[in-house]
Structure formats: C-alpha cells, structure tokens
C-alpha cells in the first residue's frame, strides 16, 4: 500500500444524523451522509447531480431501494447508490464516490 496524505474535512459535529451536509475540498463539492445505524456510518459522493446539473445531492433524502443505500436527488428524484455512485434509474449516469472515515471527532478524506 502506498502512503497517502489524509485530509481533515470537517468536525464530526458538523454532520447531521440520517441526513447530508456538503464540504468543499479544493474545487470539489463532496456530499457527506451520516447514518449512525449503518456500518460504515459515513458515506461520501459528489454533490453534483449530473441529471439536473446542479450541486444538490447533499440535500436529498436517504434510504434504501431493495437493500442498496441511496440518496434521492431533491430535484428530479433519481436515486444514486452511496456505495457505487451509480444512478439506479439511468445506468449510464454515475457520480464519483470518495473514501472517508470518522476518526476521533473528525471526518477524514483519503484523496
């Protein structure tokens, strides 16, 4: 494994349980979802919704569709998998996912 710089994105207290917030990392907007009942509890995908072309995914409703954790776009309601970034309704659309971790009160990003 090659060693990487770990970045602290924000404090764990900035997260909202069962909902999303957005962080800015360089020029990228990352949507962070905190699901205390899941393992892992923290998930990160791009905030950009490629279908409505706006930075809004952090403001969608979380849930599952046939067991797959998803966020629903608040504009046109497509579902994006938190695990893979895949859009369940339009296979050709996929958003970036990020490797993140909750550690000692901070949210860490492995870029």
């Amino acid at each position: 494994m090659k060693s990487v710089n770990v970045i602290t994105l924000c404090a764990a207290s900035d997260l909202i349980a069962d909902s999303g917030v957005c962080v800015l990392y360089k020029n990228t907007q990352i949507a962070l979802f905190y699901l205390p009942a899941e393992t892992p509890a923290l998930w990160a995908i791009s905030n950009w919704d490629p279908i409505s072309e706006a930075n809004i995914l952090s403001r969608g409703i979380l849930g599952d569709i046939e067991g797959e954790l998803v966020v629903a776009s608040p504009l046109y309601k497509q579902h994006f998998s938190l695990r893979s970034g895949r859009c369940l309704e339009q296979d050709s659309q996929r958003v970036a996912t990020f490797k993140v971790e909750l550690s000692e009160g901070s949210v860490l990003l492995y870029p």
Partner: protein, 839 residues
C-alpha cells in the same frame, strides 16, 4: 443463402422498429443501418413535447451504444445516394460502400413546400425533425407572430407548438375546413371554433401566391383573393411526400404521385429490396401514421421466418389532443359508404360534436367523428376494429352518460380485440401473460410494449389488466412503497391509534428496510398533521423533502425561492417596501404569483436565514409555499370597495388563511373567498371556496385548477360565520385523515364512496359521530401553530444547516445567472458553458 447481410436505409421510427425486431429473431444477421439524421431514431410522434418542456434527448428511442451492444453497425449523419442492384451494393454520400443480400428502404417522408415565390427565405421553415425544432426556436426568438400553412393534423400540431413558444399563431388552409381528411363538415367547423377561442387565428380558403417582405412584420403572405397576412415566421405543413428519390434512381417502380410501390410482403419491384413506412406506396396509398409503418415492418421481417404475414392496408383512425381540444376520427368518418346511416350528437353549450356512421342493417360501426370530447373513442374503436355487433340503439353509444350509454366492459371484449394498435397487442396476449405470472401493469407493458407508442391506449390497457388481475383474485396493491405494506390512510390510523411520534418507531414496528424518499416525507406529513411538531426537530430532519428541510422551494439550479405569507392578498405599502428592499439587497428575481402574493427567486441556501430575518422582523410569516400545507386564500375586494359586494370577503379570507396556515395535509390546500356571485376570487376552483350571499356564505368543496381542473361542488348554502368555520374544520380534518398520498381534495372526493352526499352526512349530519373529535383535532392544530421561519432564525443550532459548505464560507461558484428584463435568471446550459470558458 437466404440473405445474411441486411442493410437498412433510414433510421426513423419504422426503420428502428425493424432493427429491434430483426435482432430478436433467432437467426444471426450481419446488420448495417445508415441514417441521414445526425442522431439515432427518436420519437417523432411526440416531437411537439419539446416545446412544452421535454428535452430532445427524452425522445430518443435508442442510442449508439445500444446498437453497438446489439452488434448492429450503425452510421449516422450519412446518406445513401445510390443503389447498384446488379452488384447488390449501396454507396453513401461520404463514399462508403456496403454489400447487401436484402436491402430495406425506410427513408420516410419530407414536408411538402408548395412552389410559392418567396418560400425560400430563412424565416420559412418546415417541421419534421429535431433539427427543424432548433431552427424554429431560433427564428422565433425575435418573432411575435407565426403562420402555419396547412390545417391538417400536422399543421395544427405545429400551431400548438408555435403557440407554446408565445407567438401569435395563424393557420392558413387552402381548403374550406380544418382536418378535412379526418373530419366531416360539422366536426371541422366546431374544431375551428374551439381553436379560435384559444386565440389561434384560422384562415381557410386561402391560396398563397407570394411571400414578400412585410411592413410591420418580417413577411407578408399574399393570397389569391388579394387579401394578405403579415407574419414573422412561416412553417409549411401542407402534406408529406415520400423520400423516393433513391429508389427512383435505382429504377424501382414508383407510383404516379410518388412512393415506392410495394406488394403484400412489402417487396419492391426488386425482390431483394423492401420498402416500409412512409416512403412506401401500398394500394396507391401512403400511410402517414406510425402504426401502419410498424405493420409493414412486421410483414417485411416475416419474410425471414417461417410464419409469413401479409400487409393488407391499415386503419387510419386517430385520437389526438390538438391545442388542448380532443379530436377523434374512426374509419369512414364522413359516412361515404352506400346506404350508411348516421347518428349525430351536437351540444352548442359544451361544444361537443359526435357522429357515428352505421351499416344499413344497423349492426356494424363503419366510422365516427368526435370533437370536443373523446371519452367514447376507446369504446367505439373496439366496436369498429373488432366488428362487434352494435347494441339495438346504436345512438346510445354517443349520448351523454346520464341517458344510460352502453360502455363495453373490459372483460366483455373478445380475446381477439386489439388493445394497442401501435404495437399490435391483443387482449389474448395480455391474458396469456397474466396467466403465465405477470402481476402488474408495468410487467405487461415491458413484455408487450403496449401503450409505449402513441400512448392512446393507456386507459384501455389499464382497465383490461386490472379486470384480468381482479378476476384472478389479485389485489391491486396500494402499498406506499417497498418499506411499508400499508396505504397512507392505514399508516395514519396506525400512528394515531398507537400514538407513534417518530418515523423510526413506525418503521421498526410496522415496516422493513430503511425507508426512502416516498415513505419518509409521507410519514413526516402524517406526524405533522397529528402532532404538529416543528418540522426541523432533530428526529424529523432526515424525513423531509429539501423544500421542507430548508423551508423554501428548490429551483432548477439549486437556489431557492422565498414566499412570505400575504393573507388574502392584502398588503400595506410599507410591507411591499420591505419586500422590494429585500429583492434589491439580495438581487432576487421578483414575480407576482398566481396565488395573490409575491415570490422572490434565486436565493442561495446560505442567504435564506438572513433574508427571512429581515422579513420576520418586518412582521411577515412563512407562506408554506414549500409544504404540502395550506397555500393561499385568495380574496376579491368585497363589499368594502366593490359596488356589488354583499359581504366582507377580504376579512373572511384573512381570517381563514390565518386559521389554517401551517396545516399539513396529504397535498397542498388552496382556498378563496368572493364577495358576491360574480366570483372574482375564483373560489369554485379551490379545495374549498366561499362565495358571499345576501344571507351569509355558500361553501364549495373539491375544486381544483392545475392539470385536471375540477369545478367545486356546492356543499352548503347561506351559512353564518360560525357554521362556515365549523364545517371547514370538519371537512379538512376528514380529508387529512382519509386521503391517499398526494391526493388533492378533488380526486379524494371523486373517489370517496358515497361522494358528496356521504361527505354531507359526515360533516353536516355527523353520521359517524366524529364531528366533535374532528373539530377538536383542528383546534389543537390551530393552537400549536408556529411560524417555522421565526422558530428557525432564533435557533443558532438550526441555522447551521443553512451553510452551503460546513467547512468553508465560499459560495457555490457553479450557480450562474444572466440578466433578462432587468432581473437575474439561471443561466441555461449553453450560457453556462460560455461563462465557464470566459472567467
């Protein structure tokens, strides 16, 4: 060798259909497609929807990738220019050559432009392809008016599109009536009246002689009768002509007036070459609809299989909505058959005309015309296409339903009945599918493609599927989503009876999985209706739609709108000034809404608290424009000012709006109060409406504007203030308790067993003995009202939610505006591209 290499020329609707069916055959072929348009096949039938909001991409029937996956070699934006029949090769305009064993010509047709001097100017266009749409849109930018040449089906469709672009629209027709091919004289006259009422100007009997430069507009059409019409834009829709040049130059047989001659097998005069769709001439006729084209494709394709089918002509019946007017034409619409006997129903008041033409013995339906009301179309079509014997008194088929019309029950249709003519799906196929395990409408649609063509059969298909399923004892399921096996009404009762106050408790006890964007907001709304908690309580936060979470409506670019409550539409100049100041300070787009208040658009997430602080300090409250809740109570000025007013409608509207503001419900609720029967507040289009009388108030219920307008029903008359409020309290809570998710009062009332009479029994006579309880629930909701914005701006913890980024104060730099008429609006995709390129 039976033809391994198949080349299809033209990738329109019919060419594409052929390819899809071809790859589904068990044999292997080497398939090549060449399409002249720059993009793969799309749904031309629904082209006009691009003007009413669809994107061109939404029309796509396939994609390059899809063809690739199917192993089809497809070439777009190239044209076949010659066929060498001896060598069995074709050549394209870019010089590519392909060999074929079988050649399929699916080249379609083009719009005919009459040879009128001046018709070659840039503002003279046609309407057939996605590229045409772009040209029309570009030319319409600086235009005020437009004229369509041709009053047939496509011409009127085009007029509709032009009107959607906001142009004053004219239809110029050479003949004496509209849609001459499909309608009889009376039908055509009524259609004209209905269309003129929509402000489309119709000019019939006009032969255009010349198109010159206009005096006030770009162009001037000069007619043979020496009259003239000024317009900025002309679209020709004067009929179609088959694309038969390629076939002609290869010396295939061509009809006298064009069209590639085919036989029953869709073979041209060269047995290796087939022609299908709008380029083909069968029995001296071009079939200008998509369903006959599909039948030709089926016939041509069957030549590669054991089971040969023949093309024997096709039915040209159609049902359309032109400029919002229902029009239907079946078979022999004009009653040309010998000895045929016609029945007509005409209603000048409701503007409906229906006619059926029946065989001499009264047993068979030969044709029909419907204008203004197409609800009998499916029924008549079944009699016509299946040759069913007509009832004794055939006229009952088109008389208004109060007189006991005979409606064909879905289960009474014979198995041979065609349900979807676009995809040739019979009732037998649907029954087979259900017998072999399909249990939903969706499954039947996927398997048979029924109702995925023109969509005209959707209602019939649903009733056939529903009838078959319920005959087999399958319950048509009303579960709100995969997480709860209950309807909204059942969940409401569970929450109430078990005093459940959180989504997760409900999920644990009665659901499965983690919930989703359907059940979470539904349950949040139920909990709010029952307990009226602040919607941003921690335990409710993740349940809300973004609009509820941030107490504002999200707009297309991720910004929000701000709608302060203006009860009854009454506002002081000073408060108007505050709104103006906020608009200026935050550079928001400002608009008067259809609900008698003011909407400020374009606020960034992080600006919302600041904006609302100013508004709340000035005495404004939230307008709940974001919630499924009470919206506005409109008013007319009433007896304080108006010479006709008999009650104080403004005071009543303000009282009502303040009483029910914040009330959460299955869908939004709107109301209005008018000061006299002239009804200037449009109360009869509201969920509940109030109209003043000399003696008190008349209460109306179940009205709706929007997609399916419904006139409200008169519920009770001459009520005093107190009784009026009591009835409204009971009515609203009864609705909230029993309606389905996202069901407006109009649909709820239509579905309420026992209807209006039952509602009166519950609300007025208290037949269920729950009136006191309903009133009490309303009282407790009214008593616990809070302005959510006021609560929010005073809570530092809650305000944290309104940060764009939790780790930075930066703005979202991808939100871009341009200015129009002195105000900002979201930049569109092209503008955004330009702005991002030039920082």
């Amino acid at each position: 060798m039976t033809g391994k290499r198949i080349v299809i020329v033209g990738n329109g609707m019919v060419g594409h259909y052929y390819v899809e069916k071809l790859v589904a055959l068990p044999q292997q072929f080497d398939i090549t497609v060449i399409g002249a348009e720059p993009r793969p096949a799309y749904d031309r039938v629904h082209l006009s929807e691009v003007f009413s909001g669809k994107k061109p991409e939404d029309l796509a029937l396939t994609s390059r990738e899809h063809y690739q996956q199917l192993g089809v070699s497809a070439h777009f934006g190239d044209e076949v220019i010659s066929i060498n029949r001896e060598a069995k090769t074709i050549t394209t305009s870019t010089g590519r050559n392909f060999n074929y064993d079988k050649l399929i010509l699916a080249t379609g047709s083009y719009p005919y432009v009459p040879p009128i001097p001046g018709a070659e100017q840039p503002a003279c266009l046609v309407y057939r392809t996605i590229d045409d749409l772009g040209r029309i849109r570009a030319e319409s930018k600086n235009a005020k008016s437009a004229a369509v040449v041709g009053g047939g089906l496509l011409g009127l469709e085009c007029a509709n599109a032009l009107q959607n672009l906001g142009l004053q629209t004219h239809v110029v027709e050479f003949a004496n009536g509209l849609m001459n091919q499909q309608l009889d004289l009376r039908g055509s006259q009524l259609l004209r009246r209905l269309i003129e009422e929509l402000d489309v100007r119709v000019h019939t009997g006009k032969a255009t002689r010349r198109i010159a430069a206009g005096d006030d507009s770009r162009l001037k059409m000069e007619f043979a009768d020496n009259s003239a019409l000024e317009t900025d834009l002309i679209v020709f829709s004067a009929g179609i002509r088959p694309n038969d040049n390629l076939a002609k130059s290869a010396n295939l047989e061509i009809g006298e007036r064009g069209g590639i001659v085919i036989d029953y097998h869709c073979r041209t005069s060269d047995s290796s070459i087939y022609a299908i769709g709008e380029c083909a001439l069968f029995g001296n006729k071009i079939y200008g609809l998509v369903a006959p084209g599909y039948r030709m494709a089926d016939a041509a394709l069957s030549q590669l299989t054991e089971e040969k089918v023949a093309f024997q002509g096709a039915d040209m019946s159609t049902k359309l909505k032109l400029l919002g007017v229902d029009v239907g034409s079946i078979g022999d619409a004009k009653g040309n058959a010998e000895n045929c006997c016609s029945f007509e129903y005409a209603n000048e008041k409701t503007k409906i005309y229906k006619r059926i033409n029946v065989s001499a013995d009264g047993k068979q339906l030969l044709g029909a015309v419907l204008v203004g009301d197409c609800s009998d179309y499916d029924n008549l079509m079944q009699y016509y296409s299946n040759g069913l014997e007509l009832p004794e008194q055939a006229e009952t088929l088109i008389l208004p339903s109060s007189s006991g019309a005979v409606t064909l029950n879905a289960s009474a249709l014979p198995l041979t009945a065609t349900i979807c003519s676009c995809h040739n799906v019979t009732k037998a196929q649907i029954v087979d599918l259900i017998d072999s395990g399909a249990v939903s409408l969706a499954a039947v649609k996927t398997e048979t493609a029924a109702s995925t063509g023109c969509g005209g059969c959707a209602a019939l298909l649903k009733s056939v599927v529903d009838a078959e399923l319920s005959m087999r004892g399958v319950e048509v399921n009303n579960h709100i989503c995969e997480h709860f096996k209950f309807s909204r009404q059942e969940l409401f009762h569970i929450c109430k009876i078990e005093s459940i106050q959180s989504f997760y408790v409900l999920l644990r006890k009665h659901g499965q999985g983690r919930g989703c964007d359907i059940c979470k907001p539904t349950v949040a709304s139920i909990l709010a209706s029952l307990w009226n908690d602040y919607v941003l309580e921690d335990k409710h936060v993740g349940l809300q739609d973004t609009n509820d979470t941030f107490l504002a409506n999200m707009q297309k670019n991720g910004t929000y709108s701000v709608v302060p409550r203006i009860p009854g539409g009454e506002i002081t100049p000073a408060k108007l000034g505050v709104i103006a100041d906020v608009g200026k300070q935050f550079d928001l787009y400002t608009k008067i809404t259809g609900g008698q208040r003011i909407d400020l658009f374009g606020a960034r997430l992080n600006q919302l608290p600041e904006i609302w602080k100013i508004l709340v300090d000035a005495g404004f409250e939230t307008g709940h424009a974001y919630g499924k809740a009470l919206r506005t109570v409109k008013s007319c000025v009433g007896n304080s000012w108006c010479r006709y007013g008999v009650q104080d409608s403004v005071s009543m509207a303000i009282f009502i709006e303040n009483r029910y503001k914040g009330l959460r419900s299955p869908h939004k609720i709107k109301s209005a109060v008018s000061g006299c029967t002239r009804e200037c507040a449009e109360a009869q289009s509201k969920d509940f409406g109030i109209i003043a009388t000399e003696r008190g108030w008349n209460l109306f219920v179940g009205g709706n504007g929007g997609m399916r307008p419904r006139h409200a029903d008169l519920f009770a008359t001459d009520l005093d203030d107190e009784t009026l409020i009591k009835y409204i309290d009971r009515y609203l809570i009864f609705y909230i308790r029993t309606a389905a998710r996202l069901q407006r009062t109009s649909v709820w009332l239509d579905n309420l067993e026992g209807g209006l009479d039952y509602l009166r029994e519950v609300v007025i006579d208290d037949r269920l003995g729950i009136a006191a309880e309903l009133e009490q629930q309303m009282q407790s909701l009214v008593g616990t009202y809070q302005c959510e914005w006021k609560t929010t701006i005073n809570d530092a913890e809650k305000l944290k939610r309104f940060r764009q980024f939790v780790n930075s104060d930066a703005d979202d730099t991808q939100i871009l505006f341009v200015r129009e008429r002195g105000q900002p609006r979201p930049a569109n995709a092209e503008e955004r591209k330009l702005m991002e390129l030039t920082p």
